[in-house]
Symmetry: C2
Subunit: 301 residues, 2 copies
C-alpha cells in the first residue's frame, strides 16, 4: 500500500502549497482521493501513471478539494482515454462537472459514471475480491465524507514443510490456501491450521478531511493501519477550528489514540503556520506515531 | 501598456506549460484575459497584484481558457476582497461558476457581476475616460470572442516655450491641454496647434484566441499596436488546424500583415512541438515583427 501526497494544504493553491489530493495504491488499484486545482499537474510531477486511475473519491465540494476534477476529466478525454472512470462524491457533483463539459461542447469519449452520496451513515462504495472502500461521514460546513480503504485478507500461506510431511497431494494446494481442511494420500483428514501459516495482516487506510473534532468516527476506524486526519490548526487556534469546523493537531491525535490506529498522518495545514513540526509536537502529546504530510511525499504503509 | 503572459500553451496544463491566461496593464487597469487551470498560482508566481483585477474577460468555455476562474473567484473571497469583480464571457459562464460556489456553500462576499455575451457582432464591453474594451467575434468550435483594448487619446502636451512666448496665462493650461484655443494676456487668440504638441500615440492590443483563420476580423484590428493571435499549429499541420478550428503561424501572420498591426505575438502552441522558433520563422515569411509568447514573459507594448 503506497500513499502519494499530491497536496496537503488548506484553501487556496500557492506556488509551493497545493490543495488536497492523494493517490492510494492498494492491491493493484490506483485510487485518487480529492482533486484540488492543479491536481493533474501534480500527478505528472509525481510521475503517477494516472491513466490507471479508475476511481476518484471526493470528500466534499469546497474548491480546494474538487476544483481540479473537471480539468482532469477533460485531460483524460484529450489523451484518448477509453477506460471507465467512476467518481464518488456529494450530491451535485455530477451537475457541476457535466454542465462545464457541456458548455465546452466536450463530452467525454469514455464512460464517466457518477456515484452521488448523500447518506449520513457509512456506505460501501466499492468492493472487489481484494479491497473495499467505504464512506466515513464527517462533520464540516458542507456535507462531507472521509473514506476507509481496506485490503481483504489474503489467502493463507502454505507451510511447505508441513504439507510435505502430511503427505497431501499437490492438487489440493489451492484449496488449502483458501483455508479448507483436506484428506491426505493416506485417507487422513488434515487440519488446515496444521499445514498453513497466517497471511500477511490486511492493511487499511482512512482519509478524514475536512472535519471538526468528531469522535463518532472512532468505532469505524478502530485498529486501522494508517489514518490521515486533517489538522488545519494548532490548539492555540482552537476557537478558529470550532468556528470553521476544522480540527487541531491535538484533536486529530486524540482520534488516532482513541481509535488505536497504527500511524497518524497530519495534513491540511492552514497557511498561517511556517513550521509544521509544531503539528507533530502537539500531536505527540497524546499519540506517538505521527507523520507529517508534505506535497510530493510518498508513504509506504 | 504591459502584457504579462501567465500561460500560452494549448489544452492540458503541464508542469512547464500553462494554459491560456494573460494580464494586460493599461492606463491603471489590470485586465485578466482568460483563466485556465492554475492561473491563480501563475498570478502569484509572476508577482501580479491580483487584488487590483476588476475585469476578467473569458474568450470561450473550453477548459484551458476558463477552468481556473472559479478557483480565482473563491480565492478572492478567502482573501477578504471587497471590490466589485466583473466577468465577461459566453452565455452559460454565470451558471457554471455560481453552481460551483453554491455547492460549496461559499458565495462571494464581494459584488460579482457577470456580463454574458452571445452577440456575433463586436460589442463595447467596457469604457471609461482612459480605455475601451470591445469583443472581437472569432470562429472556433464553440462560441468565442477575442478582445480589443484601446487607450483613448491622451491630452495634448504643452509646448512650454511656445506657451511662454505666446504670453498665455497659466490658468489656461488645463484648457490648452484639452485642445482649446485661448486668448493671451494681450487679448490675442492663440491657435492651440501653435502651443501644443501631439500626445503620445494611443496604443491598442487585440487578443485573438482560439480561432480558425478568420479574415473577417481584419477591419476591426487594422493598425493596432499589438496583436496576440493563436498559432496552435505550423502549416505542415494545416489539415489539423482546419479540423480543430485553430490557426497556423502562417495564418496568424497573414492576419497581422493584412491588418497592418505593429507587432504580432504568437501563442497557444500545441504540445506536439519542441522548438517554438519554427513558429517565428514561419510567420516571418509574411510578417516581420513577430514575438513568441512564453509563460511568465512580460511585453512592454
Amino acid at each position: 500500500m503506497k500513499l502519494t501526497i499530491l497536496g496537503c494544504h488548506s484553501a487556496t493553491p500557492r506556488w509551493d502549497a497545493h490543495p488536497t489530493s492523494q493517490v492510494l495504491e492498494i492491491k493493484g488499484h490506483l485510487f485518487l482521493i480529492d482533486c484540488g486545482e492543479g491536481t493533474q499537474v501534480q500527478l505528472r510531477k509525481c510521475k503517477v501513471k494516472f491513466a490507471r486511475i479508475r476511481h476518484i473519491f471526493i470528500s466534499h465540494l469546497h474548491g480546494d478539494h474538487f476544483f481540479g476534477l473537471v480539468g482532469l476529466i477533460s485531460t483524460f478525454r484529450l489523451l484518448g482515454r477509453e477506460a471507465e472512470l467512476n467518481v464518488y462524491g456529494p450530491k451535485g457533483i455530477k451537475e457541476a462537472i457535466t454542465l462545464q463539459l457541456k458548455l465546452g461542447n466536450s463530452w467525454t469519449n469514455y464512460p464517466l459514471l457518477f456515484h452521488e452520496l448523500d447518506s449520513k451513515e457509512p456506505e460501501l462504495l466499492f468492493e472487489d475480491d481484494k479491497v473495499s472502500v467505504a464512506s466515513i461521514p464527517l462533520k464540516h460546513r458542507v456535507y462531507t465524507n472521509g473514506f476507509l480503504f481496506r485490503e481483504k485478507p489474503g489467502e493463507r500461506k502454505l507451510d511447505i514443510n508441513a504439507v510435505k510431511e502430511a503427505n497431501v497431494n499437490m492438487s489440493y494446494y489451492h484449496k488449502i490456501k483458501q483455508g479448507f481442511d483436506v484428506v491426505n494420500e493416506d485417507g487422513i483428514t488434515i487440519d488446515n491450521s496444521k499445514i498453513t501459516l497466517d497471511p500477511e495482516p490486511s492493511k487499511s487506510y482512512a482519509f478524514c478531511s475536512d472535519t471538526v473534532y468528531f469522535p463518532e468516527i472512532i468505532p469505524q476506524i478502530t485498529n486501522i493501519t494508517t489514518l490521515y486526519h486533517e489538522s488545519t490548526f494548532l490548539k492555540e487556534h482552537q476557537e478558529l477550528a470550532i468556528k470553521t469546523k476544522h480540527s487541531t493537531a491535538l484533536e486529530a491525535a486524540t482520534i488516532a489514540s482513541e481509535a488505536n490506529v497504527g500511524t497518524l498522518i497530519l495534513g491540511h495545514y492552514s497557511g498561517r503556520y511556517g513550521n509544521y513540526e509544531h503539528f507533530r509536537k502537539e500531536a505527540n502529546e497524546v499519540f506517538e506515531n505521527v507523520e507529517l504530510a508534505e506535497d510530493g511525499k510518498v508513504f509506504k504503509l
